[in-house]
Point group: C2
Chain length 120, copies 2
């Protein structure tokens, strides 16, 4: 993962409203959630929600799929995992940094690792 993309994704998550939005979507699971339902949960104006949603979609952290007149939103687990893997790589560059659990096993699929100290 390029550092610019990681930064863009982190910035997208680095806003309380968007992080709450993302959390709602994650907890909705693979079924996803209609924009309207998200709005009910977050209780913010539709235009504000749409604005934040777009940031998450633009950075690939969330996917949108149309179902008739409603749009279903889903958190993109692979992209989040790639991001977590990237952060874990950064964090684990130092030898004395022991992983909490399997976090560093994540990046493998997406090539997030930049060849630093692996298997930390």
């Amino acid at each position: 993962m390029k550092i610019e993309q990681a930064a863009r994704q982190l910035e997208a998550l680095g806003n309380t409203t968007r992080l709450e939005l993302y959390r709602v979507l994650v907890r909705a699971g693979t079924a996803g959630l209609a924009v309207g339902h998200v709005q009910e949960k977050l209780a913010i104006p539709a235009s504000t929600l749409s604005h934040h949603l777009r940031r998450l979609v633009d950075t690939e952290l969330v996917e949108r799929e149309r179902q008739a007149t409603t749009l279903i939103c889903r958190a993109s687990y692979p992209h989040m995992q790639a991001l977590i893997g990237y952060l874990a790589d950064e964090c684990c560059a130092d030898a004395n940094c022991r992983p909490v659990s399997g976090a560093t096993a994540l990046p493998a699929a997406d090539g997030a690792s930049q060849g630093r100290i692996k298997g930390c």
Copy 2:
């Protein structure tokens, strides 16, 4: 971890310059790196660097320690791990992520950094 703190830390990392700065510090390991040396590596004006450094320090992702006239900066691994744990928790809230124990009871959960990233 509160969602506001997580958002603040993510926002702090969500800037290419700061992410590069953080990466430099992580790779410097526990020995840390003097601000001046970081500046040489990043090749940005001192005042700009100081500004970004402050953001990372304010969000507790980086620690500063004075040694005579120079300031040594160190990445704070525990705080980064807590952040990664929080993100992993968010990610693993969904059933298809094979949550360990009561991972779905996220809302009040604060056990961010304790091994629940299992099969995610």
